[in-house]
């Protein structure tokens, strides 16, 4: 197993270009089924509004998974992610229309560690909100 990105070819401060990940209601239904998280705030608008939310919101873990996808696509190997943590700082509101929502993820190589590992700090936005904070992955490069 090996990442396609080589440690010697990256530098601290290097940016990883943004990628947009669209989210529609069906994605949340699929994620509920696959993850086992059937909290109705992720699929039932009537319920979400009754508990004070603006609308149905994406699972935080769905958003985190898009950040993970961003990192694994960049690194070239899913197994290269050895540590990945986030704080959910804002909700991704997913309206029931043709547009849904978009999560935009970008990254910066914050630090080069020992053993050909790097720290990638992620920024994830949806609309005007920063939806992840302290989003950080340690990635094993080649």
């Amino acid at each position: 197993m090996a990442a396609t990105v080589k440690y010697d070819e990256v530098t601290a401060g290097q940016e990883i270009p943004a990628v947009e990940f669209p989210v529609h209601r069906v994605n949340l239904v699929m994620y509920a089924g696959a993850s086992g998280d059937f909290n109705p705030i992720h699929w039932n608008e009537r319920f979400a509004k009754s508990v004070g939310l603006p609308d149905v919101i994406a699972h935080g873990m769905f958003t985190m998974a898009q950040g993970g996808r961003f990192v694994t696509d960049w690194a070239g190997d899913p197994a290269a992610v050895v540590d990945y943590g986030v704080r959910f700082s804002s909700m991704v509101v997913v309206p029931d229309d043709d547009n849904g929502a978009v999560i935009t993820v970008s990254g910066v190589i914050e630090e080069k560690l020992e053993d050909k590992r790097v720290v990638v700090v992620l920024t994830a936005r949806s609309g005007d909100s920063r939806v992840l904070s302290k989003a950080r992955a340690v990635v094993q490069l080649s």
Partner: protein, 149 residues
């Protein structure tokens, strides 16, 4: 209602090992919209040097709270699920998860604290194979909105 601090330190082990299947990894990858063949195609995984298909980095969320679920739904804890949102999550890997792994997960409630009007509860889950090989450790913090009010 404030959460019952007596639950801090309680540990729960899932009653049966979690069997990681190719089908579940494929389903999870499809649900997050990730078409990487290393998640669904054994030959692609083998070509990348893996013994079998690999689970995506956030996959342990599927099974890591199974043990703690019992604690979180205990009326004695006082958690109102309708007001729960996810606060923080982290996965620390000792090695990747592969299809065919049989995993034991022990979850411990490590902290309950109030921040403003909200209650924060953190569960750490230690995941190893049934042979005892450490695989990963996960940290899950949930927020009960208004719980501390």
């Amino acid at each position: 209602m404030a959460l019952n601090r007596d639950f801090v330190g309680r540990a729960y082990t899932a009653p049966v090992p979690y069997e990681v299947s190719r089908v579940k990894i494929k389903e999870f990858a499809a649900a997050i919209g990730d078409a990487n063949p290393i998640y669904s195609d054994r030959e692609a995984a083998a070509a990348a040097g893996h013994p079998d298909v690999v689970a995506p980095p956030t996959f342990p969320i599927v099974f890591s709270l199974a043990g703690a679920g019992e604690a979180l739904s205990d009326p004695g804890l006082g958690l109102n699920f309708a007001m729960v949102v996810h606060g923080e999550q982290r996965f620390e890997y000792q090695r990747p998860i592969y299809a065919g792994d049989e995993l034991i997960c022990t979850s411990t409630i490590t902290e309950i604290r109030s921040v403003g009007r909200n209650e924060f509860l953190t569960v750490r889950s230690d995941v190893s194979t049934i042979e005892g090989e450490p695989v990963c450790r996960t940290y899950n913090t949930i927020v009960e909105r208004g719980g501390a009010a």
